[in-house]
């Protein structure tokens, strides 16, 4: 996919109003991350319940606690399987009219609009699972006090790097770099190509 198609007004772009979805593989990454978080939490809770019951000799209360634990386990399983696709469906973004727009949230909806000229720098992050799935997260930073960083997860790593370079290029108002750094090079991980605000003033 050519990088130029991300921006409005460039050839190959769809209708300006169209939102892009994330890479569907991000669902699996979210499931893995969420599953592991739940597993660690539940394992710790189990140990605390068991040891606590023995030490405090809770007797029958142990089974009540265990029942509660099983209930949480069921909730965790359902949440891990069912929630990520829902979150995926509500996570969209677009770059139109020189404004980055990221929408997300199932219960608590949020739409964040970042004017391109306000970008301070862009982080490209890859977690462990993200890397194995070839995905990356872009984090847009502004100089704002309260809403200063906006993450955009679930982008194919090469696409993320290309998007970042393109946006940075726009900031400096200079032609785009021709070559795109390979996604697995260490330079792209946490590669925060810093564009300070002076470029905009």
């Amino acid at each position: 996919m050519p990088a130029t198609s991300f921006l409005e007004g460039t050839p190959g772009a769809g209708t300006p109003g169209a939102f892009s979805t994330l890479d569907p593989e991000v669902i699996d990454v979210w499931r893995l991350n969420g599953g592991i978080e739940w597993a660690v939490l539940l394992a710790m809770a189990f140990v605390i319940i068991t040891v606590g019951s023995i030490v405090l000799s809770l007797g029958l209360w142990f089974w009540v606690l265990l029942a509660a634990w099983v209930l949480v386990l069921i909730v965790a399983i359902v949440q891990t399987i069912w929630y990520p696709p829902l979150a995926y469906r509500h996570y969209t973004y677009r770059i139109a009219d020189q404004v980055i727009e990221v929408r997300r949230g199932v219960w608590f909806r949020e739409s964040r609009l970042i004017p391109l000229s306000r970008l301070q720098h862009i982080d490209l992050r890859q977690g462990l699972f993200e890397r194995s799935y070839g995905l990356a997260t872009l984090v847009f930073h502004t100089a704002g006090m309260h809403e200063s960083s906006t993450p955009l997860p679930g982008l194919a790593a090469d696409k993320a790097a290309a998007l970042r370079d393109q946006l940075i290029g726009q900031l400096h108002r200079r032609p785009l770099p021709v070559s795109v750094t390979p996604p697995d090079a260490p330079g792209t991980v946490n590669g925060d190509a810093t564009a300070n605000g002076d470029a905009t003033v």
Binding site: D97, E101, F108, R109, A143, M145, E147
Partner: protein, 504 residues
Amino acid sequence: MSAEAAYRLSLAGRLHPWTLVFGLFAVARQMLIPLLYWVFSGFSVFGTLLVLTFGIPSLLLVVARYWTFRYRVEAGELVVEQGILRRQERHIPLTNIQEIRLEQNLIQRQLGIARADIETSTGGGVEASLSLLSVDDIVRLRQCVFEQRGEGAPQAEAKPAEALATTEAPLVSLGWQELLVAGLTSNGIFTLFLILGALLRFAEEWLPEAGRRAVLHGIETTVRTLGGQSTAMMLATLFLSITFLVLLSVVASGVMAVVRFYDFRLIEQGTALRRTYGLLTRHISSLSPARIQLLAIEQTPLRRLFGWASLRVDVAGVAYERQEEQQGRGVLVPLIRPAAAEALLSRFMPGCVITPGAWRKVSPLAIRRGIMRRSVWLVVLTVAALWWWSWPYGLWPLVGFPVIGLVSWLDYRARAYLPGPRYWFVRQGWAGHAVYAVPVSNIQAVVVAQTPFDLRLGLATLILDTAGQTPVIIRDLPVAEAYALGRQVARQVEGASERKAAGF
């Protein structure tokens, strides 16, 4: 070429020799406990050793700092260097300097020296602290920084000093009567707790045990003799003591305001705004209007009653940690008529004028949401009351329901917004009141958010984020309008930055 050279080395200097004396005092204060031990132990050997081992290094540091500290303005940067073993040289671009604050206490004022704190937009408060300089040096430094920055060219430096002086225009000056009013109408409850805390500390630290007991006993017997006679007497005593405390706090906050803002003057000096205030510690701070993130015309309920307001400013990157600092530094004008404040807006930010008829209301559903949100407390209170009293009597908190309705309606009426081409205005507050003016060019991000309640009612919240500390939040907008406004303002921000880049 000569102009270039003049521009390059326009100002250089070092700390004032008095720094050594004040440094000595600071060390002595740090060393209070070892010093006391030394004196009370009859200048024993161990005491001497203690003082020497702890005191000498600190003293050496003070001397070394004075000896190595240099500052200069060159090539559009303020350079501050210090240190012997680890030499540190800090370059601060003049364009990033937001404010040069001057602070001096009573003694320093007599000596004509002060501390200069340099704040930048990078966040985290003070970037460099020049302590101490002579006041003349600070004035020259300030002129150098703000003039060079304003024009970015050496012509400013060539301007004679008299020409600079003529550009000063006084905007606001407050006498002690007005400051007293400002203090009397500020938040009295806060001051009350401050005073009670101070009294308690005084009693604990300074009064001897017997004296403290005598005072407590005196209070106790007075309360008994007065309150023990009848219910009416008891109520009267209670009422009188509360009145006394409130009066005390009001008087104290009045006095505090006079001390803090004594001889307050706001002066437009070239491109910068200069505030001068303070009775004991004198503050002088310059602020470049371009860095204003938000202006707020705020009214406490009392001030609203008497038709007064205060003007507050948010600048980038300065998070006020202590309440005290916030009160002093964020305040642009402690007391002003709301109409005068609105008139001043355009003085600080060109073209910033509120068109009275152009205010746009939020959705009337806001009343319903307000009632729902506030009723949660009512329900909790009713449940507690039902548990405490029996069936019909426990329902008394429901009497508050009409009040909640009224408050929600007032709240809805108070809230409005005004999207302008260069400035957005937001007003809110049913008891106290606030009007915020936000320059579009300083908005960093826009967020449209919906809670599950909002989803059901078709409402949304619009948040305009700046680099200042006050988030501008417009609640209860119809969802389509919120999204449209969000896109509009984001577009405006882009446009503003293009205008800026084009040189406007």
